[in-house]
């Protein structure tokens, strides 16, 4: 940069630190609240320094759960969320890869029809067609199941679109060289195209994992059986208790647990995350 005086440098860092603090503040309060006894929270105002009930509160939430959410242990919800997030991420990547491969590397009757049928889904988020989708899933008997939680959310073309774009940038000569080397379509896909897509797959995995983990409305609708509750929707059950203050210390412990996996994924795989974000939005 052009001018660089100590005062401007100071202001720059001050603004950034302030930004970091504002963003982190809710998390700090949440963490603090999750380590106190309910009485400390109910009386007046939340303390700003952690209490000494960290282990007690977290093990209670993880192991026993809250009566308000049907007494499902948070551990169970975490597990359900994990299954759902993994199923969505892996399922979507798998079907998108092969569909994009077929559309890019083959010519077949109705190819364009398939293309447009798949790509029209880019236009509409699940929220706007939620009711009829729910009915379809109910008719298929997929309520209260992992399949019902994950498969309908796989029906979107973002990943297919991304892989299509990527495949189009792979030099034609690679496929030709592979053909001359004697590789058939499946072999080329496995030996050449998949390894080349590695970073794209990883970046997409990060984005889809977060997407799947953070689903709210969908699990809310199709799970009536508490044992299928996911953690993000389970929290809503804990907060909206009738005629009573929520058990805030446990709610906050649950919130911490709900945030932890996706935040860890984002921070640990920052580079892939940024790549995935930029590419899926293109």
């Amino acid at each position: 940069m052009v001018e660089r005086r100590p005062i401007t440098t100071f202001i720059t860092h001050a603004v950034l630190l302030l930004g970091v603090l504002i963003l982190a503040f809710p998390i700090w309060v949440t963490f603090v609240a999750s380590t106190h006894a309910p009485s400390a929270l109910a009386s007046g105002v939340v303390p700003l320094w952690p209490g000494d009930l960290f282990l007690e509160n977290y093990s209670l939430a993880l192991g026993k759960g809250l009566a308000a959410s049907g007494g499902v242990p948070v551990g169970r919800m975490l597990f359900n969320s994990l299954i759902m997030a993994l199923a969505i991420a892996i399922g979507k990547i798998a079907i998108s890869l092969i569909a994009a491969y077929a559309i890019v590397y083959f010519r077949f009757p109705f190819r364009m029809l398939c293309f447009w049928t798949i790509f029209v889904t880019l236009m509409l988020p699940v929220e706007v067609r939620i009711l009829p989708t729910f009915e379809v899933v109910a008719q298929l008997g997929m309520l209260n199941s992992y399949v019902g939680l994950s498969v309908p959310l796989i029906a979107s073309a973002t990943a297919t679109f991304l892989f299509r774009q990527f495949f189009l940038t792979v030099p034609d000569e690679l496929a030709e060289a592979a053909r001359i080397d004697g590789a058939g379509p499946l072999r080329f896909f496995r030996d050449i195209l998949l390894p080349l897509s590695r970073t794209n797959i990883a970046a997409l995995f990060v984005i889809l994992f977060i997407y799947g983990w953070n689903q709210y409305l969908w699990p809310l609708l199709i799970t009536t059986d508490e044992s299928f509750y996911t953690i993000v929707m389970g929290i809503q059950r804990m907060v909206t208790v009738a005629d009573a203050e929520p058990q805030w210390h446990l709610v906050m412990a649950t919130a911490m647990l709900a945030m932890l996996p996706p935040v860890v994924v984002v921070v640990a795989m920052q580079r892939l995350f940024v790549k995935g974000l930029v590419e899926t939005e293109k």
């Binding site: 060289a177 080397d181 050449i192 390894p195």
Partner: protein, 368 residues
């Protein structure tokens, strides 16, 4: 090892035809270069031999077997691509071994064959590297290695040197030539670079607009070009062309506006008055005393290259017509000859170095 035969090979994309019937027989162990400007259909032709493009009409056979409907892998060929097409995620060894692995070759044999090819190409120290860790020349060698390892009936090269810098290109050209000689494998090589074509080929196929204008040895093509296109495309600097006519006496040529050439032995008697297009290569003109001159040149620009000097100018009576540079006439002189712009140069054409073409069809009539 095998011969390749093309019979009436055509290629159409919908309505547009890009290759108009090519017939050629390539002998076992022969090195044939297809040369032509971009878009002339030379790569398409090669890709049809490789099996990467369908053949619209005609037939291609390799080692006596018609391969029209065979997959590339069944044709027993190997190909070297312009951008090398190395698998970026595989090591040099794996790149070279991939075809053998798919064919189910035993591991020991793969190692033996890759090792031999690597020794031949001096790639032994690089076998564990990835393509991105290699220089351009090394990548080129790996691409060659991948072809050699297969021990195919024929090598197909698609402009393999055009991504290299000038110096490396000369070096790799020699290596390819040497390698092909040592292995004795039938080779078909596509390039737009006429120097590459001349130096590498046993035989040239000069293509233009989907047609093979001439199929002959490099010297034959150089000395007896079959058409105006071939004459202008092969040779650098390019051949000079002048409109002319057979004089009324039938024994000499009139070159535009009366600059006459003494005919030594005009074979086309009875064609007095016939219009011609006359070609002369820059290197076939010598400065002579005025009295012996066939034509004169008013020099406009002189380029000294060291060994040679290129003198550009115009013929005296053509200069005034429009003064445009399209009538530039070039002479290649030994570096020792000192000339400068503004001079008038008296020139004589070497015997047998006049190429006469029909101005309408562009076909060769005679060389004098």
């Amino acid at each position: 090892m095998a011969e390749i035969a093309l019979a009436g090979v055509k290629k159409r994309y919908g309505e547009t035809q890009v290759v108009h019937g090519i017939d050629v027989e390539i002998a076992d162990g022969e090195f044939v270069v297809i040369v032509g400007p971009s878009g002339c259909g030379k790569s398409t032709l090669l890709r049809m031999v490789a099996g990467l493009e369908e053949i619209s009409e005609g037939s291609i056979s390799i080692a006596g077997r018609v391969v029209n409907d065979l997959e590339p892998k069944e044709r027993d060929i190997a190909m070297v691509f312009q951008n090398y097409a190395l698998y970026p995620h595989m090591s040099v060894f794996d790149n070279m071994a991939y075809g053998l692995k798919i064919a189910g070759t035993p591991k020991a044999e793969i190692e033996e064959r890759v090792g031999r090819a690597a020794r031949m190409l001096e790639l032994e120290a690089l076998l564990t590297r990835k393509p991105r860790q290699l220089s351009g020349g090394q990548r080129q060698r790996v691409a060659m290695g991948r072809a050699i390892v297969r021990d195919p009936a024929a090598f197909l090269f698609d402009e393999p040197l055009s991504n290299l810098d000038a110096k490396l290109r000369v070096q790799m050209r020699l290596e390819i030539k040497q390698l092909q000689k040592d292995l004795g494998t039938t080779s078909l090589y596509v390039t737009h670079d006429q120097v590459e074509a001349m130096t590498l080929a046993d035989r040239l196929i000069v293509m233009n607009a989907g047609v093979a204008e001439q199929i002959a040895s490099p010297m034959q093509v150089y000395e007896h070009p079959e058409s105006v296109f071939v004459a202008g495309f092969i040779g650098s600097p390019a051949m000079n062309f002048l409109p002319g006519r057979v004089a009324q006496d039938g024994g000499s040529l009139e070159i535009r506006g009366g600059t006459a050439r003494r005919a030594e032995a005009l074979a086309i008697s009875g064609q007095a008055g016939r219009e011609l297009l006359i070609g002369v290569r820059p290197e076939h003109l010598q400065p002579v005393p005025e009295t012996e001159a066939d034509l004169f040149l008013d020099l406009r620009l002189v380029e000294t290259l060291g060994a040679d000097t290129l003198a550009h100018g115009s013929l005296p009576d053509t200069k005034s017509t429009d003064g445009a540079t399209k009538d530039i006439f070039t002479v290649r002189l030994p570096g020792s000859v000192q000339v400068s712009a503004g001079e008038r140069l008296a020139l004589r054409v070497a015997p047998g170095a006049l190429h006469l073409f029909d101005p309408d069809s562009g076909h060769r009539i005679a060389d004098l």
